[in-house]
C-alpha cells in the first residue's frame, strides 16, 4: 500500500505536469489559429481568391470582309484546337508524350511547344494543334484526367470562300511574329491571327476588334467552375469593299492560267470593281500553315503567284500609251487632228532607224487613223513635236508615274521619265531618240495595270481626276461609316480633246481597220472603246530584222511580248474602265482584248457599279459572241 501510495503520488504529480504541458500546447494552437485567422486573415483571403479566380481574355470575332453588295469574301469558321497551359501541367514532356499517343505529335511539334512554354508567361495557353477532327477532339476530351494542363478550345479561324479569286486583294491572316507583338495581350492568345497582307493588313485594327475580359472561378486543376463577371469586348467591324465579287470571280476565271492582271474601275467615282492577278494562291492554306515545299513552290514559280500584279507589276505600256501622247499633242497644240504624216514602215532620226510594227508601213495617217491602226511612225512624229516634258506632264495628269494611293499595301510607283529624272537617276542627258520610243510607250516608261485603268477612267470621265479606292465603308454596330478618299480635283483637259481621243478609241474597237475590231462587243448598247498594246521585252537585233522577226509562237514564253489592252464601255456614256495585262501574251489584240471584251460585257450586264444587288454570281462566264471559251479554273 505504501508502494501504491508513493506510486500514486508520483503518478499524480506527473499527470499534473503532463496536463500543464497539454495546456501549453493548447495555447500554442489557439494562438496559431488566431494568428492565421485573424491577424493574417486578409492576406489569406487574397491568396484564396488568387487561387480560384482567373482572368480570361475573350478574343472578339474578327470582322468580315464583304463585297460592295454585302456578299462575304472573308468569314470566320469554327476551329477546334488543343491548348496547353504550362502552369497547370507540372511535367510538360510527360504530358506531351501522353498526348502524342492520342493525336499525332511530331518531335518537331514537341520541341516547338516546349520553346513556346518557356517563352510565354505560364498562364498564357500554348497551341498544340489546330483544326482537329471531331474524333481527335473526343479522344482528347475522354483522356483529360491523364493530361493535366491540356484543354480543348473552340476558336474561330479565318475562311475565304473564294480563295483563288480574292487572295491578292484580301491578303491573309497569320500568327504575329515577335516584332509584331505590340503588347496588346490579344496578340499573345493562342491561335490569334493578324492580317499580314492585303485588306486584312490595311484594316487589321478595325477588323480585330477589342478583347473582352471574363473573371472565372477555377478549381485546382484549372477547370472553370463558374463565371464571376464578364466585360464584353467589341466585335471586329466588317469592312465593305468596292469590289463586285461576281465580276471579280468572272475576271479571275477568264484570265485562267495566264500570268496576267485585270482591273475594272467605276468611271464615276474610282471604285475598284474588280482587281485580279493570276496565278493566285490559296489563302486558306496560309491559315493552316504551309509546308516548306509548298512555300518554295509559291516563291519559285516563274509566274509569281504571290505578287499582286495589279499594283506591283510594272510594265511598259506600249501602244496603250499612245492615247496619252495624242492628248499631250492636242493640249499643246503642236498637232491638229487632221494633220497627216506618212508611215513608210520606219523613221530615220540621225543615224538611227525606228521601225513601225507594220514593215510595209501604213501610208498617210491622221490622228484617228493613227490611233486606230496604232501606227508607230505617226506617234514617233507626234512625240518628236511634243517633247518629253509635255508627254510626261500629261502622263502624270492621267495618273501615271506615282502610286495612286489605293488602300492596299505594296503598290508600286511606275515610272514616267523626263529630263530631270534621267539626269538624277542615270546621270546622263536625255536623247531625242528616247522621246520617240516613249511616244510608243516603250523605253523607260513603267506602269501598273491599276494605273492604266486609272488613265482610261480619267479619259472616259473627262471631268475629274478620279482616285481609285478599294474600301467602301466600315460597318460597326453604329452603322456604316463611308470611306471618303482624297479630295478629287478637276482634270483640266479640254473636253473637245478628250472627246477626240475617245472617238479614236471607239474606232479601234468598232471599225474594221481598228486593231481591236476582232474583239468588239456586238451586243447593242454595250459596245466598248479601247486601245491595244503589245510590248517588246527583248531586243530585236538588226540581223534578225534582215532575216525576219521571229513570231511570238516560236519564242520561249519569257521572251514573248506582253499583251495589253485598255478600254471603257459603253462608249457613248461610259461607266466602266478596264485594263488587262497578259505577261508574255504575244499580241494585245489577240490575247488581251478578248479578255477585256468579256469582262466589260459582264460588268455592264451585272450592273457592277450599282448600289443594288448585281446579277447572279456566275460559276463560268457567259458565252459571248466570237469569244474563245476560257478554261475553268479549279
Amino acid at each position: 500500500m505504501h508502494r501504491d501510495n508513493d506510486r500514486y503520488k508520483l503518478f499524480t504529480r506527473r499527470t499534473a505536469l503532463l496536463a500543464g504541458g497539454k495546456l501549453l500546447l493548447l495555447s500554442a494552437i489557439a494562438g496559431r489559429m488566431y494568428y492565421l485567422q485573424v491577424v493574417e486573415a486578409q492576406r489569406y483571403k487574397t491568396l484564396a481568391d488568387e487561387n480560384r479566380i482567373n482572368m480570361r481574355l475573350l478574343p472578339p470575332p474578327r470582322g468580315r470582309i464583304l463585297d460592295r453588295f454585302g456578299l462575304p469574301m472573308a468569314v470566320n469558321q469554327q476551329n477546334y484546337r488543343v491548348i496547353l497551359i504550362s502552369e497547370q501541367a507540372k511535367d510538360i514532356p510527360g504530358v506531351l508524350d501522353n498526348l502524342g499517343q492520342i493525336i499525332r505529335l511530331s518531335d518537331a511539334d514537341k520541341r516547338r511547344i516546349l520553346r513556346e512554354t518557356r517563352r510565354k508567361r505560364s498562364f498564357v495557353p500554348v497551341t498544340v494543334r489546330e483544326n482537329l477532327t471531331w474524333e481527335e477532339v473526343a479522344a482528347v476530351e475522354v483522356n483529360t484526367p491523364d493530361l493535366p494542363g491540356i484543354t480543348i478550345d473552340v476558336g474561330e479561324s479565318r475562311f475565304y470562300p473564294y480563295p483563288g479569286e480574292s487572295a491578292h486583294a484580301l491578303g491573309y491572316v497569320s500568327i504575329p511574329n515577335e516584332d509584331e507583338l505590340t503588347g496588346d495581350p490579344l496578340l499573345e492568345l493562342p491561335g490569334f491571327r493578324i492580317g499580314k497582307a492585303g485588306v486584312e493588313k490595311v484594316h487589321d485594327v478595325v477588323l480585330r476588334g477589342v478583347g473582352g475580359t471574363s473573371q472565372v472561378e477555377v478549381n485546382a486543376f484549372g477547370r472553370v467552375i463558374r463565371e464571376l463577371s464578364r466585360q464584353d469586348g467589341q466585335a471586329g467591324a466588317d469592312v465593305r469593299l468596292t469590289i463586285d465579287l461576281g465580276l471579280q470571280r468572272f475576271t479571275a476565271q477568264r484570265l485562267g492560267e495566264e500570268s496576267a492582271s485585270a482591273v475594272v474601275l467605276d468611271i464615276a467615282n474610282g471604285d475598284v470593281l474588280a482587281m485580279t492577278s493570276t496565278p493566285s494562291f490559296d489563302s486558306n492554306a496560309f491559315n493552316k500553315g504551309l509546308s516548306g515545299r509548298e512555300w518554295r513552290a509559291l516563291t519559285t514559280n516563274p509566274r509569281s503567284p504571290l505578287i499582286n500584279k495589279s499594283i506591283a507589276g510594272q510594265y511598259a505600256p506600249g501602244s496603250t500609251f499612245k492615247v496619252c501622247v495624242a492628248l499631250a499633242a492636242l493640249e499643246k497644240g503642236v498637232v491638229t487632228p487632221q494633220q497627216r504624216f506618212v508611215c513608210p514602215g520606219h523613221l530615220e532620226l540621225g543615224n538611227m532607224r525606228f521601225h513601225c510594227w507594220k514593215k510595209e508601213g501604213h501610208g498617210w495617217m491622221d490622228m484617228e487613223a493613227g490611233i486606230a491602226h496604232s501606227c508607230d511612225v505617226y506617234f514617233y512624229e507626234v512625240a518628236r513635236r511634243v517633247g518629253i516634258e509635255r508627254i510626261a506632264a500629261m502622263a502624270r495628269r492621267l495618273g501615271l508615274g506615282s502610286a495612286t494611293g489605293l488602300d492596299l499595301p505594296g503598290e508600286q510607283n511606275g515610272l514616267v521619265p523626263d529630263r530631270e529624272w534621267k539626269h538624277a537617276a542615270l546621270k546622263s542627258p536625255w536623247q531625242q531618240g528616247e522621246t520617240l520610243i516613249t511616244g510608243i510607250g516603250q523605253g523607260y516608261l513603267l506602269t501598273t495595270p491599276l494605273q492604266l485603268a486609272l488613265m482610261t477612267a480619267r479619259i472616259a470621265n473627262g471631268n475629274l481626276a478620279i482616285v481609285p479606292r478599294l474600301t467602301r465603308g466600315i460597318a460597326t454596330l453604329r452603322g456604316e461609316q463611308p470611306r471618303r478618299g482624297t479630295v478629287v480635283e478637276p482634270l483640266n483637259i479640254a473636253p473637245a480633246h478628250l472627246a477626240l481621243i475617245r472617238r479614236g478609241m471607239t474606232i479601234v474597237c468598232n471599225e474594221p481597220f481598228g486593231t481591236g475590231f476582232r474583239s468588239r462587243i456586238t451586243e447593242a448598247g454595250y459596245e466598248m472603246a479601247g486601245k491595244t498594246g503589245t510590248v517588246q521585252v527583248r531586243r530585236i537585233s538588226k540581223a534578225e530584222r534582215e532575216t525576219g522577226v521571229k513570231k511570238n509562237e516560236d519564242l520561249p514564253w519569257e521572251q514573248r511580248d506582253h499583251a495589253l489592252f485598255i478600254g471603257f464601255a459603253p462608249h457613248r456614256a461610259p461607266r466602266y474602265a478596264c485594263a488587262v495585262v497578259v505577261e508574255h501574251g504575244g499580241s494585245g489584240s489577240k490575247m488581251a482584248a478578248p479578255i477585256a471584251r468579256d469582262v466589260l460585257l459582264a460588268a455592264q450586264k451585272r450592273g457592277s457599279g450599282g448600289e443594288d444587288r448585281a446579277g447572279p454570281v456566275a460559276e463560268t462566264p457567259p458565252d459571248s459572241a466570237g469569244g474563245s471559251r476560257p478554261e475553268g479554273r479549279s
Binding site: R3, K22, L26, A48, N51
Partner: protein, 381 residues
C-alpha cells in the same frame, strides 16, 4: 489514510453499463457528429462516399466500445501481452505482404475493410506497457535493467512501423511510449539523456530518411520554397484556414476545399476545412471538445485505484491528445507534414475502431475504478 470500500466483485453487466461515464460517451458522440457534418460537406452535400460509411463505423465502434467497457479489467490485463504480440505479427505480415495503398504498405485487405496494424499497435503498446509497469515498484522502475524489456517493446514496434514506411506513426509510438515511461515514474535525467542522444543522432538519422521524408522536413522549415511541389499542401492548408477568418465562410461554402485546392480534405486536412467553413470560432469549439474529452480521461485515470487502470487510461488519453495536437499543428504549419489523422473526425476505418476500442478501455477503467489489482493480476496484494 485513504478510505476505501470493498469492491463488489460481481457487478452485473447492466450495473456495469450504468457505471459507464455517459458524459464521456456523449462528448465522443458529439465530436464524431461534427465529423459527420464535415464529411458531408467534403462530399459537396452528399452522405456518400464518406459520411454514411463513417456513421456506420462509429455505430459499430460504439458497440465495440461498450462491450470492451464491461469486460472485467483484469481480463484486459491478462491479455495485454498477447494483444501486443498479435500486433507485432500483424506488422510483420504487412511488411512482408500487404496491399499497396497511397505509396506505402500499411494496410491488410480483409475484404470487408482495410486493417491498419499500426493503429492496432497504438493501443496494444499502451496496454502492454501499462501491464508491465503495473507490477513494478518505484525501485524497480529506477533500475535500468528493468527498463530494457519495455524499451525493447517500444523500439521493436516503432521499427516495424518505420519500415512500412510510416515515420509519423513510428514517432507517435515512441512519444506515447515515452509518456508511459514518464508516468510510470522513470527518473527525469534518463529522459534528458535519451533526448540528447536523439538530437545527436539526427545527422545519422537524416541519412536514413527517405527522400520524401527529407523533403517534408525541408518544406516544413521553408514552405514557400516549393509552393507547387512539396510545400503545396501546407501552403494551401494555411490559405484555406486563414481565409476562413473569425466566423468562417459558412457550412459547405469552403471555396478552397471544394475547389480541390485543399488536398486530403476528408482525412489529414479535415480540420482545415472545418476552420475554413466555421472560422476560428468553429475551430476553437472543436478543440474545446477535445480538451473536455482529455480532461475526462485525466479524471478517470486519477480516480482509478489500480495502477494498471491509471496507466491504461492515461496512456490512451495521452495518445489521443498527441494525435489531436500533431494533426492540428500540422495543418497550421507548426510541425512538418506527417500524415497523422484527426481522431474521431478524419475519414478512416481502422483509426475510428481502434480509437473507440481505446476509449472502451478508458470507460472500463472508470467502471472498475474501485477495483484493486495485485501485482500478478489477482485480487490480492
Amino acid at each position: 489514510m485513504m478510505r476505501f470500500r470493498r469492491y463488489e466483485t460481481h457487478l452485473t453487466m447492466a450495473q456495469k453499463l450504468w457505471q459507464v461515464s455517459w458524459g464521456l460517451v456523449m462528448l465522443l458522440a458529439l465530436t464524431a457528429s461534427i465529423g459527420f457534418a464535415m464529411l458531408y460537406s467534403a462530399a459537396n452535400g452528399n452522405w456518400d462516399p464518406w459520411a454514411s460509411k463513417q456513421i456506420v463505423r462509429f455505430a459499430f465502434g460504439t458497440a465495440v466500445m461498450l462491450v470492451v467497457a464491461v469486460v472485467d479489467l483484469r481480463v484486459w490485463m491478462r491479455w495485454a501481452y498477447l494483444i501486443y504480440g498479435v500486433g507485432l505479427v500483424l506488422l510483420v505480415i504487412v511488411d512482408v505482404w500487404g496491399s499497396i495503398g497511397m505509396g506505402a504498405q500499411r494496410w491488410i485487405n480483409l475484404g470487408f475493410m482495410q486493417l491498419q496494424p499500426s493503429e492496432v499497435m497504438k493501443i496494444a503498446l499502451v496496454m502492454a506497457l501499462a501491464r508491465y509497469f503495473h507490477g513494478a515498484s518505484l525501485e524497480e522502475v529506477g533500475r535500468i535493467t528493468f527498463l530494457i524489456p519495455p524499451v525493447a517493446m517500444v523500439l521493436v514496434a516503432a521499427a516495424l512501423v518505420l519500415k512500412q514506411p510510416d515515420l509519423g506513426t513510428a514517432m507517435m509510438l515512441m512519444l506515447c511510449g515515452g509518456a508511459m515511461f514518464f508516468l510510470a515514474g522513470v527518473r527525469v535525467w534518463k529522459f534528458i539523456v535519451v533526448i540528447a542522444a536523439g538530437i545527436a543522432a539526427i545527422p545519422v538519422g537524416w541519412h536514413f530518411l527517405h527522400d520524401y521524408q527529407k523533403a517534408r522536413i525541408e518544406t516544413f522549415l521553408e514552405p514557400e520554397s516549393d509552393p507547387l511541389g512539396a510545400g503545396y499542401h501546407i501552403l494551401q492548408s494555411k490559405i484555406a484556414l486563414g481565409s476562413g477568418g473569425l466566423f468562417g465562410k459558412g457550412f459547405m461554402q469552403g471555396s478552397q476545399s471544394h475547389l480541390s485546392f485543399l488536398p486530403e480534405k476528408q482525412t489529414d486536412f479535415i480540420f482545415t476545412m472545418l476552420a475554413e467553413e466555421m472560422g476560428m470560432l468553429g475551430g476553437l469549439v472543436l478543440v474545446g471538445l477535445y480538451t473536455l474529452i482529455i480532461a475526462h480521461g485525466y479524471g478517470i485515470a486519477l480516480r482509478s485505484r489500480s495502477h494498471f487502470g491509471r496507466l491504461l487510461a492515461m496512456g490512451i488519453t495521452t495518445t489521443f491528445s498527441l494525435y489531436v495536437f500533431i494533426n492540428v499543428s500540422m495543418v497550421m504549419g507548426l510541425v512538418p507534414v506527417v500524415g497523422v489523422p484527426l481522431p474521431l473526425i478524419s475519414y478512416g476505418g481502422t483509426a475510428m475502431l481502434t480509437l473507440l476500442f481505446g476509449f472502451g478501455l478508458v470507460l472500463n477503467v472508470y467502471v472498475h475504478r474501485d477495483l484493486l489489482i495485485g501485482r500478478r493480476g489477482a485480487d490480492d496484494f
